[in-house]
Symmetry: C2
Subunit: 190 residues, 2 copies
Amino acid sequence: MDELKKRIIEDGIALGTEILKVDSFLNHQIDVKLFEAMGEEFADRFCGEEVDKIITVEASGIGVACIAAQYFDYPEVVFAKKVSPNTMTEEYYGAEVISFTKNEKSVIRIAKKYLKSKERILIIDDFLAHGQAAMGMAKLVEGAGAEVAGIGIVIEKAFQGGGKKLRDKGYNVESLAVVKSISDGNIEFE
Amino acid sequence: MDELKKRIIEDGIALGTEILKVDSFLNHQIDVKLFEAMGEEFADRFCGEEVDKIITVEASGIGVACIAAQYFDYPEVVFAKKVSPNTMTEEYYGAEVISFTKNEKSVIRIAKKYLKSKERILIIDDFLAHGQAAMGMAKLVEGAGAEVAGIGIVIEKAFQGGGKKLRDKGYNVESLAVVKSISDGNIEFE
């Protein structure tokens, strides 16, 4: 997606060889018009897929998922929670994920009543790096007896291997921008 | 807002006298069509206010804020972060807030470059209870020399006093549904 790549080049900040900061339009400050273009692009890429529900994980995925839903005939959006507030008392599906960026292990959870057997679920997330979050969400979906209709990613960092892992497992992964490498402040796309 | 109140009555779960669970459409599963109606209502309520930016706090406020931005001529949305990942290295404005629901103290932060002096900021959040999050966000805004254009809340729990505190300080608080009391599983609106 050219508009997104252009924005990454203009406003993204490459830190070392691993981290790409896109705080100015994706995961701290949000450019809603760009999110609309991304939502439209996801709808194009997954055209023909039946999507009953979109799931994502808090926090950065929520905005992308909500706007994308507008281009998919308004399936419900469910965001997996990383912590369990004391208001979340009922049964849930859980999966352990490691965040390499935050250097922490956490559990992502979706209440059982919001994932139903045989539903077709589109997984949306802002980043795909080592694939932990997407893999965890796929586990939640499949634990419910539902089906992964696809995985839509805003920025895939291909050099961290998560995309390959997911595609090798047979998931249909569509990334709007695929970064091949980050080095010396330079960002190279596939 | 009648559509929202109806939904709260139908799907909200009153726990004890303090907690209102609206996981099925607001803060775990999200009804994007309802969010659109809420965004339109916020635009009506704050009609005439110049809004340069919308801020909220992760995670539940993000969806509401992104959809609301579509009805305000697309100001940028910035969500305050509750934790500091190691990618957030630059200067930030911070405010301490207590979550009574989660029974924890945290710091909410916005990077300095995303709040500018003299900007008119609309604060959006899903819940207003004791007013901690909204008060914290107002502190971030004012710390930047920017101005609070208004505070838009989806559900205000009036009996927890946050709304009164904010209005006493002179803020223009608009809540789409104001809950007067919760008891015996009953939800009463003002």
